[in-house]
């Protein structure tokens, strides 16, 4: 128990540090005291005020929301599918969202404002197709069936994306940022359309924590305890699809985070209890993405690097170190 408390404390500290750094650092450094004053509404109206309030605050909140959403999506999918490789990729969301965004960026570049909407729409469509197929015919709702349908759908949408990129090679560079994944300085625009999806997915995830713990003891035990295993898996899929599609709409394809963060917190806490893993995946994902985003826009400021590759570089050594200790 002490170990888990320590992990939670460390994550909260990391989250606060990453949030502070994200608000204070960038092309212009704003002292943390001034940042606090501005956030609390006590600051003046100077350029720093503008930078923090109009640019960095929304960007930081986006990073926290996207990071938490992907962490939670990965945690509940790994639990629901009893598969350590599960992430929003395996229910097709990432492939669908990527296709939707690239479709707009490449085929309808004039309608660039539609990128988040298209990512959301195709991400949810792909997940709906996966669950539609997995819930038809024999052994409906079986774990293997969901994963296989998901991988098939991922391949299909990835092929569509690659086809689009190959057909319009001159427009491909505009799609790179989305594929690599990254946050932008677009203010509150991204969250304004996506927050209901984050909220609904997160709320559903909270209700799934206990049922997923039951499912970890097997379908039979879960059923003995009055749960319906297939319904839990469907709920987890819907929640993860909402969270991951909303995340992709805001920040592109950051699949790595959803795969790795739940494993890191499980190994660090020494437990796979969902009551621990789901909230700590949210904390860890939020801290990781905020830290990586800060790093991505400061190391070569004023040039911004896409956060996706940065996060992988930050996360993989930690992951491998924990993996070596855990197994």
């Amino acid at each position: 128990m002490a170990r888990r408390t320590a992990v939670i404390a460390a994550l909260v500290v990391a989250l606060l540090a990453a949030t502070g750094a994200s608000l204070a650092l960038g092309a212009v450094k704003v002292p943390i005291g001034e940042v606090l004053d501005i956030i609390l509404g006590k600051g003046g109206t100077g350029p720093n005020h503008q930078i923090v309030e109009a640019l960095r605050l929304p960007r930081t909140v986006e990073a926290l929301a996207v990071g938490a959403a992907l962490g939670v999506a990965g945690a509940i999918l790994q639990g629901a599918l009893a598969n350590p490789l599960a992430s929003p990729d395996v229910i097709g969301v990432t492939g669908g969202a990527g296709f939707g965004a690239i479709l707009i960026l490449i085929a309808f570049p004039a309608s660039i404002a539609l990128v988040p909407v298209a990512a959301l729409f195709f991400g949810l469509l792909a997940a709906a197709l996966v669950f539609g197929f997995a819930w038809s015919g024999r052994n409906r709702g079986g774990t293997g069936k969901i994963v296989l349908a998901g991988i098939a759908m991922l391949s299909l949408f990835t092929a569509g994306t690659t086809g689009l990129l190959a057909s319009f090679p001159e427009r491909a560079p505009s799609a790179l940022f989305f594929i690599a994944g990254g946050l932008t300085n677009a203010g509150w625009e991204g969250l304004r359309t996506t927050w209901p999806y984050f909220a609904a997915g997160g709320l559903l995830a909270a209700f799934l924590i206990r049922p997923l713990d039951r499912l970890a003891l097997g379908d039979d035990v879960a059923a003995s305890l009055g749960s319906r295993p297939q319904l839990i898996r469907l709920g987890a899929g819907v929640s993860a699809a909402l969270l991951a599609a909303a995340a992709a709409a805001v920040a592109g394809l950051l699949g790595f985070l959803g795969l790795v963060v739940p494993h890191v917190v499980r190994m660090a806490g020494g437990t796979s209890s969902q009551a621990f893993v789901v909230p700590t995946s949210a904390l860890g994902g939020a801290a990781l993405l905020a830290a990586a985003d800060t790093l991505a826009r400061t190391v070569r400021a004023p040039i911004e690097l896409p956060v996706g590759p940065f996060m992988v570089i930050l996360g993989v050594p930690v992951f491998l170190w924990l993996l070596r200790k855990a197994v």
Partner: protein
């Protein structure tokens, strides 16, 4: 007479169009241990899964304390019966106490918190199942017998009047099987109704108040072990030249293992 805890009539189950169960009856009252026996593949597990609500019957009636199974959901079902599978998957990093606490969560409302009574319920279930001594150990470190006791503790935490165990001893060595079947007998003696699916006829005869024989998708006989498990029935249903003896709490199945032709 009290209303039966479980009353199942003419239960039928078809899986992918194949009839597995074609008419099974089952009754269970408080404080009795009923063993369901029969050859492999006759529908024993399907029967207990159907009456437990784990598999939907295609026909027939199942009532738990007078309540129609078709109308029962979630917590109500969890309070009516606990189902203990043969062997549950063992998640990493989950302790015995956490697993039993998950069992108790069946009684909570969604997002509801554990009360003092719930925590006492968890401790009580662990005590009855004899797992208190290793409550803090991880499930992954337990022996087969210890794990089976934990599964029973998870079921007891539901505080249902009926415990259904599907072949709890089939993967255990002799000592562990004695241990687990002794525990189930104790639980029945303390007032719980226990339904046990079991292969070992000698074990069934030793611990059960009644045995129910399932054959070809039907319940074909029920009664006291020595009355039901006659040499003629063992010959007809199991194709075995065997007879059962029972005295002073000891049972034996004398089998002609090598058939002289």
């Amino acid at each position: 007479m009290e209303a039966a805890l479980l009353e199942a009539r003419d239960v039928e189950v078809a899986i992918d169009g194949t009839e597995i169960l074609r008419g099974a009856d089952l009754d269970l009252a408080a404080g009795e241990l009923v063993a369901i026996v029969g050859p492999n593949g006759v529908g024993k597990s399907t029967l207990v899964r159907a009456v437990s609500g784990l598999r939907k019957p295609s026909a027939g009636d199942v009532h738990w304390s007078g309540r129609d199974l078709r109308r029962m959901r979630g917590r109500e079902l969890a309070r009516a019966r606990a189902f203990v599978p043969q062997r549950m998957p063992v998640p990493a990093g989950v302790s015995v106490k956490e697993a039993v606490t998950i069992g108790r969560s069946a009684l909570l409302r969604p997002l509801g918190r554990m009360t003092r009574a719930d925590r006492a319920g968890v401790d009580g279930a662990m005590e009855r199942a004899g797992v208190t001594g290793f409550a803090e150990r991880a499930l992954t470190t337990l022996s087969g017998g210890e794990l089976q006791r934990v599964q029973i503790a998870i079921g007891l935490a539901q505080e249902a009047p009926v415990l259904i165990a599907d072949e709890p001893t089939s993967q255990l060595d002799l000592g562990a099987a004695i241990d687990v079947s002794g525990l189930l007998r104790e639980l029945a003696d303390s007032g719980l109704a226990v339904l046990l699916v079991v292969h070992d006829l000698a074990l069934a005869a030793a611990v059960a108040d009644r045995v129910v024989v399932v054959h070809d998708g039907r319940t074909v006989a029920a009664g006291e072990p020595t009355d039901v498990l006659t040499p003629e029935r063992l010959e007809r249903i199991w194709k075995a030249d065997a007879h059962l003896t029972a005295e002073h709490g000891r049972t034996a199945l004398h089998v002609a293992w090598i058939q002289s032709s």
